[in-house]
Amino acid sequence: MADTVLETIGLTKSYGALKAVNNFSIKLDSNKIYGLLGRNGAGKTTFLDLIASRIFADRGEIKLFGQNAVENQELLPKLCYMPEKNLFITTMRVREIIESAAGFYDSFDRKYADQLCIKFALDKKKKYKTLSRGYESILRIVIGLASRAAVTIFDEPVLGLDAAVRDLFYRELLEDYTANPRTFVISTHLIEESADIFEEALIVKEGVLVEHLAVEELKEKARYVSGKAAVVDAAVAGLKVIYSEMVGSVKICGVYEQFTDEKLKKLSGYEVDTSPIPVQKLFIYLTTASKEGIL
């Protein structure tokens, strides 16, 4: 059984009337890659800021390796959080930033950081303020990966990166993760292309954790059911429908359900077609479902 590295219990943070994070309770295991998914304003960044002690919770607990993580100097260096926001000192050179980061993380691998700089063509002599948006993201990637922290968190790591560099990042992440297993939490909007690297998905909607399960399980639970409207309606009766659309005379329903043998048998009894729902689409359906909907 995997060890729990990070645990939150009833974590809540409000900004006025808005509950940015509402009663968030999760357990993250060691050596896994988690995808934190949610739409803009869902509370992803607030949640990450909370677990990294950047902001304080109104209520709840954050435990890192079983101990209270808030302002805990022993534990905080075991967590490396590279936020989307710019918190670097803009007059510093890339080399100086990497050097100072190396000083703050005991497990930081300078050699690997140098290799990454070469791979991503990041000029270490440049000042941070002269970097493009893409290279700012690359610097965060270099520090996050080279930190080799037990818990590494990236908030929108591929922002401003072109497809080739994004691909390089995913490959590098997986390679390094295989060689040096640790826990990654990655918050991203680009779900389709990053879904393959996630082992588990955390789906956040309006400050609430609505789903936490393995990506494979998530894929298996989601299916399109299409056919004649009346037949489809009969087939999906009693199932959780997260999406429905009429295309001419054909009705397409997105079903999100734990497909037991009995349910599959029931579906096969109707004249309908079934196909998997792409992860990106599934995410859209799950996070846009109305409050009266399935989630």
Binding site: D49, R54, E71, Q73, C80, K85, N86, I89, G103
Partner: protein, 248 residues
């Protein structure tokens, strides 16, 4: 290495970089004025007076700007790399205290240089060098007490700057605007109140009391006032910063 030491090292590096820039620019201006002064004196028949480079004043402004301006970026940067607010606060105090020592030493040294220049340039053999202390204090003025005074003064300036930085971080533009508007009003309106107050400027009197000006042994007493003020400012900053959420 201890994390606190790493934070101090980082903050000190930044402070020393800015200080070396400040000193470089100051030296250039100083040399320019020195040459200008030499030209002026050589063209006059009999000149006397006192040369005061005003390093202390320039240094005080620099320390305030440096400490207050670097508060937010340093806080955010160190927080990003997993340092606690307590360590960040302690490192800011340590680095600023070190900066104060440097500025105090240079202030004392600049007085010696000013004195020497006054004597060298003056054509009047009885030229007297006037400095801040000869105006404020009557007794016990020597290099040791001057150093102590400068050091305590720079400490109170950095602690004020740190408090300003922490307040600006927490309350943002509202505080910054209010601070400078109130300060501006004080500087412009308060002198106008002298006639209303029957010619007695209570503000100047309060300031004189704080600086222990004209009091026997005042140069030794004033640093006590400064340090007490600095402790109060630091305590408020600590309370503010240790419960401060990150602001970008």
């Amino acid at each position: 290495m201890n994390r606190l030491l790493k934070c101090i090292q980082f903050q000190l590096k930044g402070a020393l970089q800015s200080t070396s820039w400040f000193l470089g620019i100051y030296l250039v201006i100083y040399l320019f004025l020195f040459v200008l002064l030499q030209q002026l004196i050589s063209s006059s028949d009999n000149s006397s007076g006192s040369v005061n480079s005003g390093f202390f004043l320039a240094g005080a402004i620099f320390v305030f700007v440096q400490v207050s301006a670097s508060y937010k970026p340093n806080f955010n940067y160190l927080l990003m790399f997993g340092n606690t607010r307590r360590n960040i606060f302690l490192s800011t105090v340590s680095a600023s205290a070190a900066l104060s020592v440097i500025m105090a030493v240079i202030s004392v040294a600049s007085q010696f240089v000013d004195n020497a220049i006054t004597k060298t340039l003056s054509k009047n053999s009885e030229a007297v060098y006037y400095d801040l202390f000869s105006i404020l204090y009557k007794s016990n003025v020597n290099t040791f007490t001057e150093s102590l005074w400068f050091l305590a003064m720079f400490i109170v300036i950095f602690s004020l700057a740190m408090l300003y930085g922490a307040m600006a971080y927490r309350f943002g533009k509202v505080f910054i605007t209010a601070f400078w508007v109130v300060l501006g009003l004080c500087l412009t309106v308060l002198p106008l109140t002298i006639p209303v107050l029957n010619g007695t400027n209570v503000y100047v009197a309060a300031l004189k009391m704080y600086f222990c000006a004209g009091v026997s042994g005042g140069i030794m007493l004033a640093p006590v006032n400064f340090i007490i003020t600095a402790i109060i400012f630091c305590a408020v900053t600590y309370v503010l910063s240790t419960r401060q959420s990150q602001v970008v």
